[in-house]
């Protein structure tokens, strides 16, 4: 191995899959070999069995659907308000000076800490779930978008001015296109966080969703179901991440090296 030398695409896939194999093998040895009690950790086969029962008998796919809906709902809400606000803050310094201190403060407020309050305000329905995700992702998103837009290459802005662009043209035809790929990348990152918040919200007060199934399984000491729930979240995350990456590459071909 030499530093920074790339691997072939086939080897890359093989290596990535191999570690999943290693991980499952170690898990199987620890559980099936009797080193860990099934009370604390189900073995991989038991996990798959529990998952099968969940999907076929208990209609777990409905919970999966509900959770996905909540994640994308909260995420879209945060993106629809957060991205435009972040762009305005990055482009116009007085707007940034107005909002930035508060947003910097608000982003340290723990979203999960708001759950009891949100239950009080919005009940345990869908609005509360969306709000948890919104609070968890909105402020971070605004700040990151503002930084991206604010760090647009100054020489490109100056070039646009010498070509006759005015303030509106600078924002629409320089700041926006130049920031778009990084904003899309930030959205991909924030979507990952939204997954963390939705599960926390569902663990505390929910009657459906993946997080709700996990709490129920805890009461039943069914570690197989808990692990299956966690694995499902991981798989959905992997797929949505991949789709996001593909969309970004398709949208921004000029970025490819």
């Amino acid at each position: 191995m030499k530093p920074l030398v790339p691997v072939s695409p086939a080897a890359k896939v093989a290596l990535g899959v191999a570690f999943f194999g290693v991980f499952f093998a170690a898990w199987a040895v620890a559980t099936m070999g009797g080193f860990v009690s099934p009370t604390f950790l189900a073995d991989p086969l038991a996990m798959l069995g529990a998952g099968w029962r969940l999907l076929v008998v208990h209609g777990f796919y409905r919970d999966i659907g509900v959770t996905i809906w909540r994640v994308f709902g909260g995420f879209l809400l945060a993106a629809l308000i957060g991205v435009p606000l972040g762009i305005l803050m990055g482009a116009y310094k007085p707007i940034e000076a107005f909002f930035e201190p508060f947003v910097s403060f608000a982003r340290y407020l723990p979203a999960s800490g708001f759950i009891p309050l949100l239950i009080l305000w919005a009940g345990i329905g869908e609005a509360q779930k969306l709000l948890v995700i919104f609070i968890g992702s909105f402020f971070q998103l605004v700040l990151m978008v503002a930084v991206i837009v604010g760090s647009t290459r100054r020489d490109l802005v100056e070039a646009a001015y010498t070509l006759g662009a005015r303030a509106g043209g600078i924002v629409r035809r320089v700041l926006l296109p130049s920031s778009a790929p990084d904003i899309a990348e930030t959205l991909r990152l924030v979507l990952g966080w939204a997954w963390t918040y939705v599960i926390v919200a569902e663990l505390i007060g929910a009657s459906s969703g993946i997080g709700h199934m996990i709490t129920d399984s805890q009461a039943l000491l069914d570690t197989g179901q808990i692990i299956f729930g966690i694995v499902v979240i991981g798989l959905i995350g992997l797929v949505s991440d991949y789709l996001f990456k593909m969309a970004n590459q398709w949208l921004f071909p000029w970025r490819l090296a």
Partner: protein
Amino acid sequence: MSRLLIDGVSRIFPGLGGRPATRALEPTSLAVADNDFICLLGPSGCGKSTLLRIVAGLDRPSAGRVLLDGVAVTGPGSDRGMVFQSYTLFPWLTVKENICFGLREKGMPAAEQAHLAGHYIDRVGLGGFEHHFPRMLSGGMQQRTALARALVNDPKILLLDEPFGALDNQTRALMQELLLGIWEADRKTVLFVTHDIDEAIFMANRVAVMTARPGRIKSDIWVTLPHPRHYTIKTTSEFSVYKARLTEEIRDESIRALAMGA
């Protein structure tokens, strides 16, 4: 009447954190006539780029004023086209879209834009690369696109800030011939900043030599070599006379600039 008048322009950069202010440019005056090709020649850090940026409206003078056709310059505009030393093509736009940027900003109909852009793409020799993104182009091709992008706006004056400074020697020589050819055909007024003596003599009809920082214009030399100039002119004895004189002028300033740590 002069097309561009630089009248007592100076620039002082305020010192940050209690450090003393930097005097980048002493009060400087220069009259640029229509169809002039003027090179501002000076050692690095002498304030020649600062002067050009003030003319472009990208920086403000601490004192003095710049008049273009008798009207004071207050900010950047498409009447002063600029080519920068760094590659400033918009990476998300193709060659053709980059060239059309200013035309689109003016609200010109798309068909007219395409026609004009095609004309300048041919003039800078980029036929076949219209739909390439900047990252697919060599440095020389990027700067040719930037030149076309500035020219297509039909500016009153073309400002160039060491546009070929990052290119290799051979490419630079070809770019000089290209720019000179365009100037000989259009006689567009040009203000060109460089620290390369050969480049200045080869292209300019006037060379303004600047001192080390704080910069001011030390001498103003007319280059009366005949046009059209062929690249072989660089090896003639007339060329060498200019070169010897300018080398002498600039040498003292370079030594001073070096002593200041520029």
